[in-house]
């Protein structure tokens, strides 16, 4: 029985997600979707629920109500560790890397969920399959280090690198797992204007080469507007705007809660 050739579901569907911490409502029924190969901006004041939403998608936090579907699969039935394998990768605002390992080792660690031969085979180093997977992982790491201009620091311990470089390492590690959806938490933090411009081009390139979608939390409005296809805005755990970057920026609720009056004077100069 063939399914009718309707449009495939969006890559990610967030539907009526509610999260409460004690008495505080962190997310009050948020719904939106991320299409295939879409760059989706997610903005909102500090504490408006953006990170909580990230945590729900990556499995660090469980919604009290609502559902999140990834390629049509309800995530509430997928345990956290399996989500990376499903194709969801993420970076953190303050980075979460193995600080004493080198850049290359961190990226290799990211490639691990792809390796299918399992713990036992790896532990016993059985047969050619493990070796082939290792070779492939090293090849992936090499390619990513080149893409993100990390070759010069490949063998340096991550803890010694400047923050902006660590953020690129984290991006490489997330990409190494071959995600279909990349959750990026403030990739422009600590970057100057020229570096942000390069980051924007890098995000486009990543989308093209890896054929993935990006959900981007970022306060750098210039970056958000220049790379996003659509933007969602949250405030106090509720969606206050959803649409093209231009439309969202012009939304009175967004100006009131997030940008501030006359924001063009400052926000963009960043």
């Amino acid at each position: 029985m063939a399914a009718p050739a309707a449009t495939p579901p969006p890559l990610l569907e967030v539907e009526g997600v509610v999260v409460r911490f004690g008495g505080v409502v962190a997310l009050a029924g948020v719904s939106f979707e991320v299409g295939h190969r879409e760059i989706r901006g997610l903005i909102g004041p500090n504490g408006s629920g953006k990170t909580t939403l990230f945590n729900c998608i990556s499995g660090l936090c469980r919604p009290a109500a609502g559902e999140i579907r990834f390629e049509g699969v309800a995530l509430s039935r997928v345990p956290r560790h399996a989500r990376a394998r499903l194709g969801i990768g993420r970076t953190f605002q303050h980075t979460a890397l193995f600080r004493s390992l080198t850049v290359r080792e961190n990226v290799l660690a990211g490639a691990h969920p792809l390796a299918g031969s399992g713990f036992l085979a790896n532990a016993l180093r059985l047969g050619g399959r493990v070796r082939r997977e290792e070779r492939e992982a090293e090849e992936t790491a090499r390619r990513l280090l080149a893409l993100l201009s990390l070759e010069a620091v490949a063998d340096a311990p991550v803890g010694r690198l400047p923050f902006g470089t660590q953020k690129r390492v984290e991006l490489a590690r997330a990409l190494a797992a071959g995600p279909k959806l990349l959750l990026l938490d403030e990739p422009a933090g600590g970057l100057n204007h020229e570096e942000v411009y390069r980051l924007a081009r890098l995000l486009f390139r990543i989308r093209r080469e890896f054929e993935l979608s990006i959900l981007l939390v970022e306060h750098h409005m210039h970056l958000v507007t220049s790379v996003s296809d659509r933007v969602v805005a949250l405030d106090f755990g509720e969606k206050i705007a959803d649409g093209t970057p231009e439309a969202v920026r012009a939304e009175p609720a967004v100006i009131r809660a997030y940008l501030g009056e006359g924001a063009a004077a400052h926000g963009d100069a960043a």
Binding site: F21, N46, G47, T51, H94, D185
Partner: protein, 290 residues
């Protein structure tokens, strides 16, 4: 039923001792992220000091007070002399140092005072049981003393500037330095306080278990079980855990496993907590937002 009540009260009395030692362990753990294996032996040594003072004719309470101050000084000295140079040493090196410290205190105690088991006097009337035979004078008195010590320590950390500075130094040494706190001295003070609390616990338990160089070994194990049960990162939890272990130990010893297997029970609690709930019953993680 009366037997049950009796065991319960006895459990609370020993639980107080475990709670004190558990608190000492947690204080050092919070500041250094290491468990001081020598905590028990240090307390034993302190107890011998008190015993020597009493033998030498000092009034009992004066002996206790002097021992507390001496133990505080010894604790501070150990941190300054022995642990300061190991500030950035690998974990295993520090663990080895703690084990070494434990053996050193054990043998010094034995060398000076001998290995004979001795009775230790109690200042609380022990001949006539109180509350209709429910509890001995010493159990009641030692519980009161440990509760008073715990309350004092709590008030110190909660309500004094020095206590706040010590907590800040333990939580976040880098930021503590940035507000001008001398973090090194805060660590040393923490060691001193832990040693002083241990000394009180040792003196309170000695009349029950009798004085000998290994007398705190069991206590340390129970205290460690209590600290883990309550959450090794949570002082109030560790105190509650200590009391809980004391009660469970007494009840189980009387009704379940018998006296011989009581120590096994402590080990079972340690393993069980580590397996099932590593952050302890009352362990709480701080929800951090960005």
């Amino acid at each position: 039923m009366e037997g049950f009540a009796h065991q319960l009260v006895a459990g609370i009395a020993t639980g107080g001792i475990y709670a004190s030692v558990a608190l000492a362990l947690v204080m050092i753990y919070q500041a250094t992220h290491h468990v001081n294996f020598a905590q028990g032996e240090m307390a034993t040594f302190s107890t011998y000091l008190a015993w020597a003072a009493v033998q030498g004719g000092a009034p009992w309470w004066a002996a206790l007070l002097g021992t507390v101050f001496a133990s505080f000084a010894v604790g501070v000295a150990i941190e300054r002399v022995l642990l300061r140079p190991m500030r950035s040493a690998p974990v295993l090196a520090v663990v080895c140092a703690f084990i070494g410290l434990m053996l050193i205190f054990n043998s010094i105690t034995g060398a000076i005072f001998g290995y004979a088991v001795r009775p230790f006097p109690s200042p609380f009337e022990t001949s006539a049981p109180l509350l209709g035979g429910l509890v001995s004078g010493h159990a009641l008195g030692s519980t009161a003393v440990t509760l008073a010590v715990l309350a004092l320590v709590w008030a110190f950390f909660r309500h004094t500037g020095l206590g706040l500075a010590m907590r800040a130094a333990a939580y976040n040494p880098v930021s503590a330095r940035l507000v001008g706190i001398r973090v090194g001295w805060m660590l040393a003070l923490g060691w001193g306080l832990a040693a002083a609390i241990g000394a009180v616990a040792g003196v309170m338990v000695a009349p029950v278990v009798f004085l000998e160089p290994n007398m705190m070994l069991g206590v340390l194990l129970y205290a460690f079980a209590g600290a883990l049960l309550g959450g090794i990162d949570n002082p109030a939890g560790a105190v509650a855990g200590g009391f809980l272990v004391g009660v469970v130990e007494n009840l189980a010893g009387a009704y379940l496993v018998g006296a011989e297997l009581k120590l096994t029970l402590a080990l079972a609690i340690i393993v069980g907590v580590l397996l099932l709930r590593p952050s302890g019953l009352f362990g709480r993680a701080v929800e951090s937002r960005v």
